[in-house]
């Protein structure tokens, strides 16, 4: 029987779920299965490294976190074994679920994103290419929705239209101050840094710099527009490349390597070809460096990179 892009049967007997997933589908099921395998390898490996990096941060909880990190490592080894990949994802899912509960309510948003992605790569039944195609569509939808919501939330809170939030961060956070020193005069940065954010009436967190305001608005506009490209067949590649560009830009201002690695790998799922597999060696270098730095063997501090 002819198949829809994510593998369901023809249009006349498609369910609402089939139609929804078809929007972000398009590959033959076996191609989709390979793409999901590649992403699953990255995801479980990423989680295992993160699990070990958590340990020094909470030495009092090592009795719980160390066994979880060990289980995650076993899952990371299993995910490269053809018949163990789906089970590895299920094991990693259980570990991350435990970590979300342990860190609740302070769990970072990218931990929830990791959890959602793990559910999607753990659900396919081994050897079922139709499930894998649905998982690929689910992952792409997740990437587009998360990007869209980050933009929509900025609209809801209204602190980007005149650059107020970024002005506050330029004074509050060294990373932001460093990045914005090219568009804001030193005296203005000094003024922003001197404002007491814990005092009612402190401000104004507003700057007289058109470039700064344009950059602030460009962020939420890009976050709202790129998902539309991602979910259109013709614009998919441009949407993914634009998303990767946005991630790089965000790293210049706010170093969030953990979120960036996860999100860039989600965006790579929109490109034709096995880009997740191609990117894995580079990701491994970052992982090895982070673990080496955490152990004190290499320079740097993974905490400062927000890789956790």
């Amino acid at each position: 029987m002819p198949k829809t892009p994510h593998g369901a049967s023809r249009a006349d007997d498609r369910t609402w779920a089939d139609r929804l997933l078809a929007v972000a589908g398009g590959e033959a099921p076996d191609v989709a299965a390979t793409r999901v395998d590649d992403f699953r390898r990255f995801l479980v490996l990423y989680g295992a490294v993160r699990s070990w990096l958590w340990l020094p941060l909470a030495p009092d909880s090592s009795g719980l976190l160390a066994p979880l990190a060990l289980c995650h490592t076993v899952a990371a080894a299993m995910v490269f074994v053809p018949r163990g990949a789906e089970w590895a994802a299920r094991g990693a899912l259980a570990v991350v679920l435990g970590q979300v509960v342990w860190s609740f309510p302070l769990a970072a948003n990218h931990l929830y994103l990791e959890l959602v992605c793990l559910v999607l790569v753990a659900l396919p039944r081994p050897g079922d290419a139709r499930d894998a195609a649905a998982a690929l569509s689910g992952l792409r939808w997740t990437a587009a929705l998360v990007l869209f919501h980050t933009g929509l939330q900025k609209v809801f809170y209204g602190a980007y239209f005149r650059g107020d939030f970024l002005a506050l961060m330029a004074g509050a956070d060294e990373r932001f101050g460093r990045a914005f020193r090219f568009v804001l005069p030193g005296a203005e940065l000094e003024r922003l840094a001197g404002l007491d954010r814990s005092r009612t009436g402190a401000g104004p967190f507003r700057v007289d710099s058109p470039i700064f305001v344009v950059a602030s608005n460009a962020v939420w506009i890009a976050e709202l527009c790129l998902p539309v490209l991602l979910l259109s067949r013709r614009g998919r590649v441009w949407g993914a490349l634009g998303g990767v560009g946005l991630m790089v830009g965000i790293q210049v201002v706010a170093l969030e390597i953990g979120f960036a690695l996860l999100f860039v790998n989600l965006l790579l799922l929109f490109l034709p070809g096995r880009w997740n597999a191609r990117a894995l060696p580079f990701t491994l270098v970052i992982f090895v460096w982070a673990l080496g730095a955490a152990a004190g063997w290499l320079p740097g501090q993974p905490v400062d990179w927000n890789l956790l």
């Binding site: 369901a8 369910t15 302070l106 999607l120 499930d131 005149r162 506050l168 009612t200 401000g203 967190f205």
Partner: protein
């Protein structure tokens, strides 16, 4: 295609609704999250609403003893370590969960450690960046307790 990738037998159930349900949850949760920020003062940066780096919000919690001369700060440094931990946990959870996190447990622990502090007030101040003015705005709540038990009515905000 490898043997592992063969099409499934037609009798296998279609799991598309499961995958689609996850997509629907990811699509809808941030709207619920926004509602919870408005209704319960939860932290926009937490609980998976993808509203990190959107705005500034901070919650400051203080524990006060009611005296004839007014409110006096409870000296937390003099409290036993386990009680201090309960108060710290409350601060963290209140900041993230907003009004969902009641101070009752923290006050009970405080009262158990210092029974002489019969009349207590928990002051909770929420500060945020007001985009209308580009200044820090705030809202203060004073929650009165007698002998570790909350009074029904919330006290009017103090100065």
């Amino acid at each position: 295609m490898s043997a592992r990738r063969k099409e499934p037998p037609s009798r296998r159930a279609n799991r598309a609704p499961l995958f689609a349900a996850i997509v629907v949850i990811v699509a809808l949760w941030p709207f619920v999250h926004r509602g919870l920020v408005l209704s319960h003062d939860i932290d926009p940066w937490r609980l998976g609403g993808f509203a990190m780096y959107t705005t500034y919000q901070r919650t400051i919690v203080g524990f006060f003893e009611v005296t004839g001369a007014g409110l006096r700060v409870v000296q937390e440094g003099e409290l036993p370590e386990p009680v201090r931990e309960v108060l710290t946990r409350f601060r963290i959870r209140r900041s993230a969960l907003g009004t969902w996190e009641s101070p009752d447990e923290a006050v009970r622990a405080l009262h158990a450690a210092r029974p002489e502090l019969e009349h207590l007030v928990v002051a909770i101040q929420r500060l945020w960046l007001d985009p209308a003015t580009a200044h820090i705005a705030s809202e203060k709540k004073l929650l009165p307790y007698v002998a570790g038990t909350p009074l029904d009515a919330e006290a009017p905000p103090g100065p």
